[in-house]
């Protein structure tokens, strides 16, 4: 079984509709790629988010790749990127 691909979402501590949509998107991706993703959500004020520096939430990372910042990606396009990363892990 290959290592699951990490999907990391950094969200604003409160009141961010785009962050809410990105959380929903993450759930959708977990359904599309069962057992292949390791999804984590961090609040931007969480120390775990410090390593990313100055960010505009929502920040969505696929593996070590910043897929979106401050915007909600299209679900199908995100799935395409995930497929690509799963096919050729860095």
């Amino acid at each position: 079984m290959p290592e699951p691909l990490a999907l990391t979402l950094i969200v604003a501590p409160r009141g961010c509709p785009k962050c809410t949509k990105c959380r929903e998107l993450l759930a959708q991706m977990q359904e599309r790629f069962p057992d292949q993703l390791d999804c984590r959500v961090h609040s931007a004020d969480d120390p775990a988010a410090d390593q990313f520096g100055v960010v505009l939430p929502p920040l969505l990372m696929v593996g070590n790749f910043v897929a979106a910042m401050g915007s909600v990606p299209d679900a199908d396009k995100l799935a395409q990127l995930i497929e690509r990363k799963l096919a050729s892990p860095a």
């Binding site: 990313f52 520096g53 910043v66």
Partner: protein, 408 residues
Amino acid sequence: MTIYLDHNATTPLRREVWDAMTAVEFGDPQRANASSVHRLGLGTRRHLTNARETVAAALGAQPADIIFTGGGSEAINLAIKGTAWGRTSRTAHHFISTVIEHHAVLHALDWLQTQGHAVTLCPVDITGRLDPQAVAEAITPDTLLVSLMLVNNEVGTIQPVAEVGAICRERGVLLHVDAVQGVGKLPVNVEELQCDLLSLSAHKIQGPQGVGALVVRPGTPLCSLVHGGPQEGKLRAGTENIAGVVGLAEALRLAEAEREATLARWRELREILYRVPRELDAVRVNSHPDLTLPNCVNMTFMYCDGMALTMNLSMRGICVSTSSACTAGDLKPSHVLKAMGLSDMAAHGALRISMGRQTTAEEVTTTVETLKEIVTDLRLVTKPGDIGKCKDDCPCFVTGPRPTAPAA
């Protein structure tokens, strides 16, 4: 591995500069206060005098014209607020600048407006170039000072400063040149530029941070921002930063000695960077094609977010900037790119790549290849259906007027 391509933000300190600074700071005899009259004070004063002579010689000025400051922003503030407060005419209260200046200039002018001064900001064309005629038309009988940058920090475009200098001289208006990005990289001579004030900073030329200078033409009415002791011709009170000014002088001396060779190398390396718009769709070079300092290329990657691009590059060890460092925590689109007529979308997709003296062809090639990979992946997520169809004249790139063709 780290590839540093953010030299317009700051440059690494040169070893030779550090050696010169430490020789003063930890040398024998010990460093004292340059204003002290004892033997150690006089020795320290000699370092200050030598540094002043070196900086003056590099800029075609006299040593007495050099006022050392705590950096470029302070020098700029001294030039702008100092002329406002030092003016000899009660009616001269009008300032002229451009829309693409550094915030040190724009915010100083904003503040002067709150104090009753009038400000006119001239527009620039799509490459970030000012038309000197715009300055000539903006000058009124009340105009006191024109402030113009020599090289834009975000796009690298070189401004027609000497032409503006001639206009200002003829009309009896003071000219301040923000040469922070130009000194040590381009030939700078205050007589040839016909300027009255010129600001520079050490850390842009591999000198220490927190040191700069203002060149003041004799007879320019100027009031100090910091009152106290008689240091720096009574224009900047406070005990001098001796190691800092020695570092500035040494950095400038070295940069001047190597300037032509460095410029030639940057031109070669820039050709590698120019592969990006040729090999990727929907990439636009925002800098002027010719009249640009060759260490800097500003490019818009349509359908990409510049911050996401910068972050991905950073995670691969490549440090570039989305915009000027001073606005890196501020996610509004760059005021420079907006003023050049780029749309919000185009401005948000811009990257500034600025090379330094020690940048190698291998580093630039790696950056180009990495950029291509990242942009391709980012566009998987963000690209609309019409990617690749956009050309430079696509309306999505710019919202402002297109540049008019030069007269035949």
